[in-house]
């Protein structure tokens, strides 16, 4: 009894993984597990709000598909960002090489000019 009372104020480990939340919404969990999830939902405001919103989606079986599509879209966007980042890196490198070559050439030319000048004296 006192343990049950303690549950009311306890708010440790309210983490719920997405798969379990989905099973809960699809009514595929045992009564005991459901109660456990609901206790966590009361502690975890983010998940609690999400659960309220997800209830509004009539076809619960579609939720997983919607999430999958959103994740694919995110993956595409991040891949684009990564490619852009790599392109920038590749673009940067030729300039660096060119600058080094020009610098070396300038040093050689300066050396030759100084030598010629010294010889002519």
């Amino acid at each position: 009894m006192s343990d049950n009372l303690k549950d009311i104020l306890s708010n440790l480990s309210p983490e719920i993984d997405q798969e379990t939340l989905l099973l809960y919404l699809q009514n595929k969990l045992s009564a005991e597990k459901k109660h456990e999830i609901e206790k966590k939902l009361l502690e975890n405001e983010f998940a609690g709000d999400a659960e309220e919103g997800l209830r509004e989606i009539k076809d619960k079986e579609r939720i997983a598909y919607m999430v999958e599509m959103l994740n694919r879209d995110l993956k595409k966007k991040l891949e684009k960002k990564k490619q852009r980042r790599e392109k920038m890196r590749i673009k940067d490198q030729p300039w660096m090489y060119m600058s080094v070559i020009i610098l070396i050439l300038l040093i050689v030319i300066a050396y030759v000019v100084i030598r010629l000048y010294m010889k002519s004296k």
Binding site: K39, E45, A47, A50, L54, I57, L70
Partner: protein, 191 residues
């Protein structure tokens, strides 16, 4: 990308890795952990599937941009706040209402959780709790009793009491908050 492979890596570790090398792949592991929750929060506020999906995509973009600008310590709370603000902004745009930005944290920090654990270790708390339970409104008392003491699910409570599932949740949430306030008040009076 297989999320199972990265399950052992915490959100904070993923964020730290992102801050170290700015590789967007880390966010590709972190953000899908919250897609379902984001979709749910957007649905709660926008009440429209297409708009909610669109909103989740925009939140992802916002998060990717913002994380590059500054360091975030409590990712989950921060993400929740970003999502709520984004939804409220959309509602404002839709209805022309005044936008109230949420800047407070809406979830407990580890410190607050430790404070709560401290409260539970107090010997008087259990006595005070039984006493305070009787001071709740009849609906709150009934729902808190059925949920915490008889371990019934929302659905079972709803069937037994005739309240809707949302009402049940709300009575439990408010009952729990009121209980905590009553206990804190009683503890202060005792000192």
């Amino acid at each position: 990308m297989n999320p199972e492979k990265y399950r052992h890596i915490t959100d904070q570790q993923l964020l730290d890795s992102f801050y170290t090398d700015h590789n967007p792949e880390w966010l590709g592991i972190l953000l899908p952990r919250y897609t379902l929750l984001l979709l749910g929060v957007c649905m709660k506020y926008l009440k429209n599937e297409e708009e909610a999906k669109d909103c989740v995509q925009q939140i992802f973009l916002k998060v990717i941009t913002e994380l590059k600008k500054y360091r975030v310590d409590y990712f989950k709370s921060w993400l929740y706040m970003v999502a709520k603000n984004h939804c409220l902004m959309r509602i404002r745009d839709r209805q022309g209402k005044i936008h109230v930005e949420l800047t407070e944290r809406y979830m407990s920090t580890p410190q607050e959780e430790a404070d709560m654990a401290g409260l539970l270790r107090n010997d008087h708390v259990i006595d005070l709790m039984s006493q305070s339970l009787s001071e709740l409104s009849p609906e709150q008392k009934q729902c808190v009793n059925l949920f915490y003491l008889q371990k019934k699910s929302y659905q079972e409570i709803s069937e037994q009491t005739g309240f809707t599932m949302l009402q049940v949740k709300s009575y439990i949430q408010n009952g729990k908050r009121n209980l905590r306030l009553l206990i804190e008040k009683k503890l202060r009076e005792r000192k």
